[in-house]
């Protein structure tokens, strides 16, 4: 990465000096040390008023970010910032840190408003807070979008109370005081620290206070690069994930799972023999399989491999990719015949996106200690309130008897929206009458875990006389599971949604809220139909956009070709929005678009607009035989992306270092979606069982050259970053591959047709751990 990669914010224009700044209301909470609170729903703007005209698509006026931000509005829960006598501030964010960097960026936002060094602000993860109702969901790249205002208000109120206390302490008036790095100074040179004021600024009763927030022009922390707050712990092996927690008695626990998808255990035939195995303490049959608790996970694996279990059939017995695709085809609704002049030319395309696993490197896992009348659970959870409710229901306990702690996750990518492992761990702990440290075996993840559903995407576009007249996209998908709570938020909001949305089903609504084709293409329609609820599905670092963007951008290249235009020139002509055009032009300039390349190599370019911002990506790909077949031991190689140039506009940037990290990761995901990573369904089960079967991006796939450019924006609002890098990356790689091979791929990932591994056994369901490690040292 070149140092120039971070093109920082321009000098801010701030707010219009002619207008008075908006005030916000918050509270100083009664107590012995200073605690300031704000309604967590602050900053949620009203929905776009009136009907939706036909030309702009729904997301241009009101998108999923607005939905998630607005749906917080009825909640009364406060978030609080506490000032401690040691001069530090603390805040428990009701969101989940899964690697996306929100504890770091949130500390920066608080430090900015508090005038405190970032190192003195400690951000932790709040446990499940039922009083926040729906407002504790980490997803949709929404954290900073929705929390930016309320946490600043709480911080501003805390600083106001500190200034009030300092004025008394220093015998001055607030307007003459200055605050800097945790010290408040008076004009006479006297000063007092936040630590000294923490108790003096406390209030005996809760008070309502009005504050104004800092102008962007005065920011000194927001927008500056900052490394992660947990970086040192991470590199020293001290960062604690769920399986690293020391919960007394919580012994390693694993589950022997069925040989077919969603099968269930009928009977364990050799329970006595299993209980006699070394290290084994407990065995319990639950709905998902036969659980074993032992002194070590290795002994759980051995026990699982020795279990003789009779199984009930699964949910897709006998089915395969082929039969599921046939089902999707049957569910496809014919494309409408557009009302266009008879001479118009048509581009039609039909794409298939296979099942993909959203599993993180940390597998599904949770610690559970269930007693007779109460339960405590620790896990990486993005929707802890729902986890708490579901666990309580599963255990037959009242909600308030279940304490749910949110632990930093070893990745999520949508996987941890669901509390599958937490619920399972609680049930097993209850069945065994002992605390458990439940971990899924890696093999369980692609075979029984959440997948991104198979989907087809059909597009018909028409053009005449240099204009695109219509663009119709129709996705048909295996059902995506939204039972993680976004659904509840949406139904709670139905009445507030723009016209037309309320009448749609849940997935159709979310599809409509996220899909925005950023081009002037005349009559644009994008619709989703779903079928088949038998799979365990979920969102995967975005919901629909990587697939739809790949399909759209490939068709756009076809349109450009038919209309005799260069792909870049075509896009620049038809893109609606200036920020998208600027990002596209940036990658074209930095990536030297149009440079001559040898046969078998090509550039590809693509854009995506979502999350209150946009991304543009240019790649170069080498699809020559000698590269595709390059030799890396036991590796799937394939075409090599040799260069990637990304440009991202997320409005106000909080932490450029973190934003760049999200773009790098988003690129790795997007490239894998297009080139290498998928799951194969055969005879009722998925064949993949580990990372040597599921080909996520590896070092041998990584582009040797990569740049991320952060576009300047004068917006006062931050946008979303976590998912933003994926769609345009996937699409640019697909477009480059199509140009390099002179064939537009229609099935993704492109290597799905080849099964390049020997499937591991289904009975037993987990592979034996090798013993030859000492022969493979280096």
């Amino acid at each position: 990465m070149s140092p120039s990669a971070q093109d920082h914010q321009p000098e801010s224009t701030g707010t219009n000096p002619g207008l008075s700044r908006r005030s916000f209301v918050g509270y100083v909470i009664g107590g012995t040390t200073l605690v300031a609170g704000a309604d967590f729903a602050l900053g949620a703007g009203p929905a776009a008023a009136g009907g939706i005209p036909s030309a702009p698509q729904i997301p241009e006026l009101y998108d999923l970010e607005d939905l998630q931000t607005d749906s917080a509005a009825p909640t009364a829960g406060l978030i609080t910032v506490k000032i401690h006598p040691d001069g530090t501030a603390s805040f428990a964010i009701p969101r989940s840190e899964v690697g996306q960097g929100i504890t770091t960026s949130t500390a920066m936002i608080l430090a900015e408003e508090l005038d405190l060094p970032v190192s003195k602000v400690h951000v932790t993860l709040a446990p499940a807070r039922p009083e926040l109702l729906l407002n504790q969901l980490t997803g949709g790249s929404n954290t900073t979008v929705s929390t930016y205002t309320p946490i600043r208000v709480a911080a501003a109120i805390a600083k106001g109370a500190l200034l009030d206390a300092a004025a008394i302490e220093l015998g001055s008036v607030v307007t003459r005081l200055t605050s800097h790095e945790g010290i408040i100074s008076a004009p006479d040179g006297s000063s007092v620290s936040y630590g000294d004021l923490a108790e003096k600024a406390a209030s005996s009763q809760t008070k309502r206070v009005e504050v104004q927030l800092k102008d962007r022009a005065s920011f000194t922390i927001i927008g500056t690069p900052r490394n992660r707050d947990d970086a040192r712990d991470a590199v020293m092996g001290r960062k604690k994930f769920s399986m690293d927690l020391d919960v007394p008695g919580a012994l390693p626990t694993m589950v022997c799972r069925p040989p077919t998808l969603n099968g269930s255990p009928r009977k364990l035939l050799n329970k006595g023999a299993i209980l006699k195995m070394p290290g084994v303490r407990n065995v319990a049959t639950v709905e998902t399989g036969v659980a074993v608790r032992a002194a070590t996970f290795g002994q759980c694996i051995d026990a699982i491999r020795a279990m003789k279990v009779e199984w009930n059939k699964g949910s897709v017995e006998g089915e395969s990719d082929k039969t599921i695709l046939a089902r999707l085809r049957k569910a496809e609704v014919p494309l409408a015949v557009p009302a266009v002049p008879i001479l118009a030319k048509t581009v039609e395309a039909d794409f298939t996106f296979m099942f993909r696993s959203s599993a993180a490197l940390e597998p599904n896992c949770a610690v559970a200690d269930v007693r007779k009348d109460k339960a405590t659970v620790w896990a990486g959870l993005k929707v802890p309130i729902l986890a708490q409710q579901n666990i309580a229901k599963a255990l037959g306990l009242p909600d308030d008897a279940v304490k749910v702690h949110v632990v930093t996750s070893g990745g999520s990518f949508g996987h941890k929206l669901f509390s599958d492992a937490a619920i399972e761990a609680a049930k097993i702990s209850q069945a065994m009458g002992a605390p458990v440290r439940l971990m899924w075996h890696r093999a369980d993840e692609p075979r029984q875990g959440r997948l991104h559903p198979m989907v087809t995407s059909r597009i018909r576009a028409t053009h005449l006389a240099g204009q695109v007249l219509s663009f119709e996209q129709r996705n048909t998908s295996v059902v995506t599971d939204f039972s993680h709570g976004l659904g509840e938020r949406l139904s709670a909001m139905t009445a507030e949604l723009p016209a037309g949305l309320g009448a749609m089903g849940l997935s159709q609504s979310i599809f409509a809220l996220t899909q925005e084709l950023p081009y002037n293409f005349g009559a644009v329609t994008q619709l989703l139909d779903e079928t088949d609820e038998r799979f365990n599905t979920g969102s995967m670092r975005n919901i629909y956009s990587p697939d739809t963007t790949v399909a759209n951008e490939l068709v756009i290249d076809q349109l450009a070709k038919q209309m005799g235009m260069d792909p870049l020139a075509f896009r620049l002509k038809f893109i609606k929005s200036d920020i998208v055009k600027e990002a596209l032009q940036k990658v074209a300039d930095e990536g030297n678009w149009g440079r001559k390349m040898p046969a078998g190599m090509a550039q590809g370019i693509a854009v995506h607009k979502e999350y209150k911002g946009c991304t543009a990506v240019l790649v170069e790909i080498d699809a020559r035989d000698k590269t595709v077949n390059r030799d890396i031991r036991e590796a799937v190689t394939g075409p090599r992306v040799t260069k990637a140039v990304m440009a991202v506009n997320v409005g106000l940037v909080v932490n450029p270092t973190g934003l760049e990290a999200q773009m790098i990761g988003g690129f790795s995901d997007g490239m894998a979606l297009t080139l290498t990573s998928s799951c194969h369904l055969r005879d009722g089960h998925f064949l993949e069982a580990s990372w040597d079967n599921y080909f996520y991006t590896r070092q041998w796939n990584v582009p040797p050259s990569m740049e991320v450019h952060i576009m300047a924006s004068d917006s006062d609002q931050p946008g979303g970053a976590g998912e933003a890098g994926v769609p345009a990356s996937a699409a640019a790689v697909a477009c480059a591959y199509a140009r390099a091979t002179k064939t537009m791929p229609t099935v993704f990932p492109i290597n799905h047709g080849t099964i390049s591994f020997k499937p591991k056994s289904f009975i037993p369901p987990v592979p034996v751990s090798p013993t030859n490690g000492l022969k493979l040292t280096y």
């Binding site: 990465m1 899964v98 995901d669």
Partner: protein
Amino acid sequence: MAKQTFILNGKTITVNVNDDVRVLWVLRDLLGVTGPKYGCGINVCKACTSHINGRAFNPCSVRVGDLKPQDRVTTIEGLPKTVGKELHPMQQAWIDRDVAQCGYCQPGQIMAAVALVKKTRREGRSITDHDLDTIRNICRCGTYMRIREAIEQGARNMK
């Protein structure tokens, strides 16, 4: 059960466990050394990468009974001590480049990187792009670019 003795991060330790339990579980479940992570259990993801007698190995694929009393096992927790500092230069490079995202794979990545640099030095050469391409450790957050940059920096600062 058998007494198993080896040197862990500079200290001789003895633990009672059957020969066939893999070293990863002895470290994590019995000794509470949680730096090495589980990601696959079959020597594929490399999240547990540690060192044995100064070379990279994957404790998920070694029976504890195959360790000899004089074998020196180093996990991420013991890496700084091998250079007598608070941080190994590779760890410092990781911090400087802000490599970690979720951080789950990073102990293994760092241990692999140190071993790779040492290996190329034994071969009398410095690390190349091709060497970086052969690193098998998975980072599911996809921060591979920064890993590559950090290894180059870490290598420059390794004695």
